[in-house]
Symmetry: C2
Subunit: 96 residues, 2 copies
C-alpha cells in the first residue's frame, strides 16, 4: 500500500533558490530508485510562512523509501544549506 512522504522545509531568508536546487538534485536521484511513484514541491504563497517549501511525495512502500534515502545519503554528496531545517515523515490518509 503506497505511503506518502511529507517534508516541510524551514528555508533561511535569501536561500530559497539554493534550497530548490538542493531539492532538485535529491529528486533527480530519488526518482531513479525502485518504489518511487511521484513528487510535488509546494512553495508558500505568503512569504512569511514558517515552511517556505513542503515536498509531498508518494512511494510504493516504507521499505523502498528507506532504501532509496539511505542510498542517497551515501552516494549524493550535497553541501548542506546553512540554517535549513526539514522534518520528513511518512503518512497515511486517515480522513477525507
Amino acid at each position: 500500500q503506497n505511503v506518502i512522504l511529507i517534508n516541510p522545509f524551514e528555508v533561511p531568508k535569501g536561500q530559497e533558490t539554493e534550497t530548490i536546487v538542493y531539492w532538485e538534485a535529491a529528486r533527480d536521484f530519488l526518482m531513479e530508485q525502485p518504489g518511487y511513484v511521484s513528487t510535488e514541491l509546494h512553495q508558500s504563497i505568503q512569504p512569511d510562512a514558517k515552511f517556505h517549501l513542503i515536498n509531498i511525495a508518494e512511494w510504493e512502500s516504507i521499505e523502498t523509501f528507506k532504501a532509496a534515502t539511505s542510498k542517497m545519503r551515501k552516494e549524493l554528496k550535497q553541501k548542506p544549506i546553512e540554517g535549513m531545517k526539514f522534518y520528513p515523515a511518512l503518512y497515511d490518509v486517515i480522513r477525507k
Copy 2:
C-alpha cells in the same frame, strides 16, 4: 486557479483523538463554504514524528479560503486543545 492549504499539527502526547475530533468539526464547517474543493487528513506512521497530523486541502481561491476560515473563527466555537500547535499556509506546486 486552485490553491493548496497545508497545515502541519504538533499534537501533544495523548491528545491525538481529541485533535482529530477538533479537526473533524472544522472540516464539517468548512466543507459547506463556497470554494471548498477537497481535503485529506494525514497521520504519521512513526509515532515520534514532529507533526503527528498534517491536513492538505484544496480551495478554489485564496479569497474563498480566507472568507471561510474567518467565518469559522466567528461561528464555530471550539475549545482549543492545550499545547496543540499548527502552521496553516497556502501553497502552489512549483516542481514535479
